[in-house]
Amino acid sequence: MNGILIAVIGLVVYAIGFRFYSKFVAEKIFRLDPNYVTPAHRYKDGVDYVPTNKFVLWGHHFTSVAGAAPILGPAVAVYWGWLPALLWVVLGTVFAAGVHDFGTLVLSVRNKGQSVGTLAHKLIGQRAKILFLFIILILVLMVNAVFAWVISNLFISYPASVLPVFIQIPLAIWIGYAVYKRKAKMLIPSLLALAVMYLTAVIASNVDFLQIDLVRYMGGEDGAGLFGLGAVSSAFLIWIVILMVYVYIASTLPVWKLLQPRDFINSHQLVVGLLILYLGLLFTNPQVTAPAINGSANDVSWFPLLFITIACGAISGFHGLVSSGTSSKQLDKETDARFVGYGGAVGEGILALVAIIAVVTLFNSEEAFVGVYSSFGDANASGLGNFVEGAAVLAQGLAIPPEIATTIVSIIVVSFAATTLDTSVRLMRYIISELGVEYKMPALTKTHVATSVAVISSGILVLLPEGSRGFGSGGYLLWPLFGTSNQLLAGISLLLISIWLKRLGRNYAVTLIPMIFLMFMTLWAMFQQVVFQWSWFGNDSNTLLFVLGAIIFVFAAWIVLTAFQALAGKFDPPIDHENKDAM
């Protein structure tokens, strides 16, 4: 088996899924109507509701949903061999993610462009709204912790990437300023910024003193760090503190000042990254050295853990927030929903596919692969590093020297993770404020109080140690929790679409089957983890993870019960009169 063949198989299945399955769903299930007046036209205000060309909207949708998660998940999940990961990514994209992203977009378009949270309130009831807020809260908390962990780890492993990543900040502020004050075009300044970043990467990769290596400053891995900690733990602690201060500032600034210009640079990085990886793949044509099914992976069963390890890339609830939050308000014609929604999911699937290929072609032999992926814990801890190395090997196909390639790939991953972190701290701040309003705690509605709560709780969670191995060593334990909360969110969205389809008298199996599948996997995985791993009599007893896992498990069970009630029609809140035509 070689890398190109896997890529071709994946891409062909995506193409068939888009060409036939999404067409079937669009015509027979959602019955899209080109003459339907979309919210973008009905409520056109030049701000939120703007009819937008479908290609432009797809570009925006894709760059909003693609990030570091579809890279990290597959890089860990290849632990069970490349075949299960490949099958779940490809089939998940076609039958679950595509329908989910497409469906939330259509559901929102047919309901005044409202978001999934509001629709949960309308279709299921008040309780659903609170449940929804809590699940998103857990999700963003996990995102904050996991991505802060990812960034700090990459900074420690690839010190040459620190400087270029930090240079991105003033460059982004400069672009924001130039575009806003001088009405400059965006393309040239953001390409210049990218060139400066990569040039810094090239220089920093070759000049030692430009590599900000905290571990080396403290005398190497065995050196003494701060407060009696080891050097690696101290370096981790310092990076987390710096990151938390950064996100505090970044998430309270207006979006056009820092977040958006960073996004412009990052969308170039996404394009550059995908091009480098796929062209590199074409030129190097690497052999797959990892086993199709890893027989020595006995400590943790792939079933059901695979389905929560790869969340983004196969199906992700976060996409529903983008579909129903912004894209649905900008859809020009209802029939464009197929291209934007389903196409966005396929775009992310393409990224996840190349992430799998980069990791499974990295090693020289099957033994080397099994040596690195010797346990699920090792897979979690080293997955991202393996992706960076694997991607660098592919980049060598384009004659990019390996040390520069690793720096650039880690910059790309850090940039994605940093933007996600910024957005999700911002989102967490909004949710905390909203819960403050809901439970009448006015202090929580203040920006700085809400941001402090968000930043401090994320900071504490990411420092979670594993046994005696120091700060941050347990960060990867949060990954399955991130996956689960993300899948739960997707489960609720699929449930909402199913209820809507059922009330319209259509066939709702296309969304109900993926929903049942997801909820089953989530419940089972959480049950297994909570009872056999994290509880007091489990293998890796851990109170914090036990509590978080138990909360997620209860939420999942709650959703399943609500789903059953809502679909059985026992519990049917009245539909808003104004909206009767749309329902």
Partner: protein, 85 residues
């Protein structure tokens, strides 16, 4: 060929500038809302010394006012003085 490249660049520029334009429009709209509140603060009980003059703007802003109260989550006009809906 050159045309196609130009088109591609234009498309890319549009993908980048769309969210930015939106965000700037949002900031502007927020400022406008604040301005509207300053002009007509009398109507919500805050004394306004220039009320007499700002009322002259009434015919020009009635449509905008309608959009504003919808945006603020009020289905009908909150003021009996302004009869937009």
């Amino acid at each position: 060929m050159l045309d196609k490249v130009k088109k591609l660049i234009e498309y890319y520029e549009e993908v980048l500038s769309m969210p930015h334009r939106q965000e700037i429009a949002r900031e502007l709209r927020n400022e406008d809302d604040l301005f509207l509140l300053l002009l007509y603060s009398e109507m919500i009980g805050i004394p306004n010394p220039v009320y007499y003059y700002t009322l002259e703007l009434y015919p020009y802003m009635i449509e905008k006012f309608h959009d504003w109260h919808l945006r603020m989550g009020m289905e009908k006009s909150p003021l009996t003085g302004i009869r937009c809906c």
